[in-house]
Symmetry: C2
Subunit: 196 residues, 2 copies
């Protein structure tokens, strides 16, 4: 039996993106963003949505740059902190034991204690409803060695990234592999081919 | 120790979005999209990125509508099928035991066997690199009763949505709750407030 829930901003899973920026004086800030996702492969690009009143939005306009740091189970409380404290009221990094480090290719800080960071240069900004939709080219990915496999690729099991559940406001685990993409559907694809 | 991985299209987690459309003759199609995410709360909106050569992109332009169906563990093989078969070559729904049902508010089909569907009307389409970035207003959410809690909200544990791991090409489980958002960071926020 199906139910209409009406117009709702839900999706499963959504990511937990800690967006790092500098203000014009070089003070680092970070915020917790769940409205975002990859949006291009060539060049690699990510889209994040932020309200205009956020300090992060002003910083992005100032520097044309940001980082996207992936939150993991080990730093879940720190990731949540960036979502409950406002950068307009406090300097968030002054009150937490995390290191904002200048990124290698863009004028924005990444957070050393988080396992993965995407360095982004602003490509486009468009308005979508109450949010500004910021599209950034991913010019480099900085990874902690501890989350890489023997081929140097990010290992989802080691990474232990968390996701966000927008219906119940939970953080969720995302490190249990349940199948192989472009693989578990091949028997069905084979059957379709034989049908023709 | 940190490593630079270069410019890569990776993010954790990404969703597994089965995008449902009709062509001009009313033939249903569906494709598997991992480049996407929510992008606005008021109105609720979602952004998905698709290449222009996809049948789905032409269908979206034709009808100004699409659905986003959430793939779950129970229908992982079917979700993968939609990613490995091309709608330009076969009528995907002719060869699989799934029901494409006309949505309630938009001219696009949802998939009855998938637990959750977002009905979307096109708001904007912009080009980002090789992809077209399609932004759709979510005008209704259709949920299977079996994935709702006693308050009628989507229950992430019952939903058992899968995510996609773009580094290792795996599907991942997303139904294990590991913390409460706007909650696990409150002690750190309290400490910051006391510091001032």
């Amino acid at each position: 039996m199906k139910k209409n829930l009406g117009a709702k901003d839900i999706l499963f899973p959504t990511p937990v993106l800690i967006v790092g920026t500098y203000d014009k004086d070089g003070t680092p800030n970070a915020m917790n963003v769940a409205w975002g996702g990859l949006c291009s492969s060539k060049p690699p690009a990510i889209a994040i949505s932020i309200r205009t009143e956020r300090r992060t939005y002003l910083n992005i306009l100032e520097k044309n740059a940001f980082t996207v740091n992936i939150a993991s189970e080990a730093v879940m409380a720190e990731a949540d902190y960036f979502g409950v404290v406002s950068g307009n009221q406090v300097k968030k990094f002054d009150h937490i034991d995390l290191s904002a480090v200048k990124a290698n290719y863009v004028d924005a800080p990444y957070i050393a204690e988080l396992p993965l960071a995407l360095e982004c240069k602003v490509m486009q900004v468009i308005k979508v409803g109450q949010h500004m939709h910021v599209i950034g080219e991913i010019v480099n990915v900085i990874a902690d060695e501890t989350v890489l496999d023997e081929k140097g690729r990010v290992d989802v099991v080691k990474l232990k990234a968390i996701g966000y559940d927008p219906a119940g406001n939970h953080y969720i685990a995302t490190s249990e592999i349940v199948g192989d993409a472009f693989s578990v559907g091949l028997p069905l694809a084979e059957k379709a081919k034989n049908d023709i």
